[in-house]
């Protein structure tokens, strides 16, 4: 069950123009900042929003073609939707919620309920079958919502921030479960999220959306190792610079050069982890080829470490220990030198 979608939507100033090609059975993690158009895209795919121009083929069937005027309504599209707030029908029990799609299609009550019950069991929430949505925990509600969507065997499954409504503590377990269920599901699935870990865990491929356009797509490894935009870089926690390389040296700005470990030529992205950055009060001596002067702009706890934002000709993020912060007497406005070993730098064509 594959999906091929070319979608264009115009809403006031905002323009969405996206092409997606999802092979059968795979899971796409759709990443992007707020306002990038992720929810708009999901709405078009689900049949809840009419696009200005689109060609969508789901499992070989043309679902929307604005050129020929074909438009299959949401009701007949067989697209499953799981939203951040779950939106379980409050006056129905978990079982009745899950059976809703089947009953709406005319399946007799008994059959619907037993199919629904088996789905609830498969997702591990059989015991809440008779409870009302308000009596369920976040994790239970999410699974019931998933069961409700899967019970009608959709060709495409859309999940909009599926874990966002859960406690941080329960997320890892539910995330792992969701990964398992998505792997068992044989249709295409698109998971919208702005949590990078979620995207990396759940998706076979990542698609990054910014301002209505796809700015990067690829496997999790490809994207995290070679982020193409600031947003992606920040998301995966890397420093990203853009420059022009000529041999072992790349120029990233006026009077700002980076020494590389290997030759490169032409426009390049330069990426290195904040953990690879060392800060010192004076220009460091030693084997690190890259050292830049700058001023501390901001400091913020980052797990056990402190992430220091350094402004200057080469702006960088550096993760250092609190002890080091105290030793160096770092504070906003203090001048520092940041240095990185060339071997810690990844370079790839822009």
């Amino acid at each position: 069950m594959s999906l091929l979608a070319k979608v264009a939507v115009r809403r006031g100033d905002f323009e969405l123009d996206v092409t997606l090609d999802v092979s059968a059975g795979s899971v796409i993690s759709l990443l992007g900042p707020n306002g990038a158009g992720k929810s708009t895209l999901l709405a078009v795919l689900a049949g809840l929003l009419r696009p200005d121009a689109a060609l969508i083929e789901l499992d070989g069937e043309t679902v929307i073609d604005t050129v020929t005027g074909t438009y299959v309504s949401a009701r007949h599209r067989r697209v499953g939707l799981v939203l951040q707030d779950f939106l379980l029908f409050p006056h129905l029990s978990a079982l009745e919620n899950s059976a809703f799609g089947l009953r709406s299609r005319g399946v007799p009550r008994g059959t619907s309920r037993s199919v629904a019950a088996s789905w609830l069991a498969r997702l591990g929430v059989a015991e809440v079958a008779d409870r009302r949505p308000r009596e369920l925990s976040g994790g239970q509600a999410q699974r019931v919502a998933l069961a409700r969507a899967l019970a009608v065997e959709p060709r495409l499954l859309l999940l909009d921030e599926p874990l966002a409504a859960l406690d941080v503590g329960t997320r890892p377990a539910v995330r792992a479960d969701l990964r398992r269920h998505l792997a068992e599901y044989d249709g295409c699935a698109i998971v919208v999220t702005h949590d990078p870990l979620e995207a990396l865990v759940l998706g076979d491929r990542l698609v990054v959306l910014e301002h209505g356009r796809v700015v990067q797509e690829g496997t999790p490894e490809q994207v995290t190792r070679h982020p193409l935009t600031d947003y992606v870089a920040r998301l995966v926690g890397l420093n990203l610079l853009r420059g022009s390389a000529d041999g072992r040296v790349a120029t990233v700005g006026p009077a700002a050069v980076v020494t590389l470990a290997h030759d490169a030529a032409g426009p390049v992205h330069i990426a290195f982890s904040p953990a690879a950055v060392t800060l010192s009060p004076h220009r460091p001596e030693g084997s690190a080829r890259n050292a830049w002067a700058g001023t501390v702009a901001d400091m913020e706890r980052h797990g056990d470490l402190v992430r220091v934002t350094v402004d200057g000709p080469v702006p960088v993020l550096a993760d250092i220990t609190p002890l080091a912060v105290a030793d160096l007497d770092l504070a906003p406005g203090v001048a520092v030198w940041a240095s990185v070993k060339a071997t810690e730098i990844t370079v790839y064509p822009a």
């Binding site: 809840l48 939106l87 029908f89 006056h91 709406s104």
Partner: protein
């Protein structure tokens, strides 16, 4: 900062106007209670005229409410969700019975449905029936004045409903009717119910349009308010007072019963 519940700081300026408002509401009731002929209460309440009027009132008010619900919910849906030219004008027209003096409403009904009315004369030539002076006319008059209550309540509830539930239901394969029946309607049920209660209470108390359009005949068109009016005209103040108290009691009972159960959850 935590809020402590008890100490409501009532502005002193509110006390007098509030007391005045309360007086306007309660003093007539107190007057009725004071002047009621308590010793004749059973006799009056058990009299033929009163019992007949009571039965007729309950029947017509309930029928009128049923009509308002069946016709009003789709109308409210169109106003809340539809997009057609003239929608705001239509919404304004629906509320006209609220501001129209009921007697004028009755005259309007006569002009339309009376024997020589636009629809009425056609009705008479086509089926031989006329509407004035029938119980059906009472139900029509009551529906006319009470429908806005239901439409407005349901329209408000529909506007406030979260449409995403309906979106999800559509993706699950539900037809528009199924969505309305199993998702939308349960969501707006409290609004529908409170609208229906107001509708019923208004229908029960309707006087001007009824007496103008339907006339006043015992057992056929003389509802409780008309019975009270007739009693006053005949100089029988005691019966009029008893009927007034009866109507207030019925209204209070219905409103109190429903307020606790449904409106709190509203």
């Amino acid at each position: 900062m935590t809020r402590h519940s008890a100490e409501a700081r009532v502005p002193v300026l509110f006390v007098v106007p509030a007391a005045l408002g309360l007086a306007i509401l309660l003093l007539p009731l107190a007057g009725l209670l004071a002047r009621a002929p308590w010793n004749r209460l059973g006799e009056i309440l058990g009299s033929d005229g009163v019992l007949t009027a009571l039965r007729l009132s309950l029947l017509t008010a309930t029928l009128a409410t049923a009509i308002c619900v069946v016709c009003g919910i789709p109308l409210a849906w169109l106003l809340a969700r539809g997009s057609f030219p003239g929608r705001s004008l239509l919404r304004g027209l629906v509320t006209v019975p609220l501001v129209l003096p009921p007697v004028i409403g009755g005259i309007a009904l006569l002009v339309a449905f009376g024997r020589s009315g636009t629809v009425g004369s056609w009705l008479e030539s086509a089926t031989g029936t006329t509407l004035p002076f029938t119980t059906a006319a009472v139900v029509i008059a009551q529906s006319f004045v009470a429908m806005p209550f239901l439409v407005i309540a349901v329209e408000g509830a529909l506007r406030g409903a979260d449409r995403r539930y309906e979106d999800v239901a559509a993706t699950l394969g539900a037809s528009p009717w199924t969505i309305f029946r199993r998702v939308t309607l349960p969501a707006v049920a409290p609004g529908v119910l409170s609208g229906a209660v107001l509708c019923w209470a208004r229908a029960l108390g309707e006087f001007g349009a009824t007496i103008t359009f339907a006339g006043s005949f015992p057992g056929i068109t003389r509802t409780l308010p008309l019975e009270a009016y007739s009693a006053i005209g005949a100089g029988d103040a005691e019966t009029a007072i008893v009927l007034s108290l009866l109507m207030i009691a019925v209204a209070v009972a219905v409103l109190a019963l429903l307020r606790d159960r449904w409106m709190v959850r509203g």
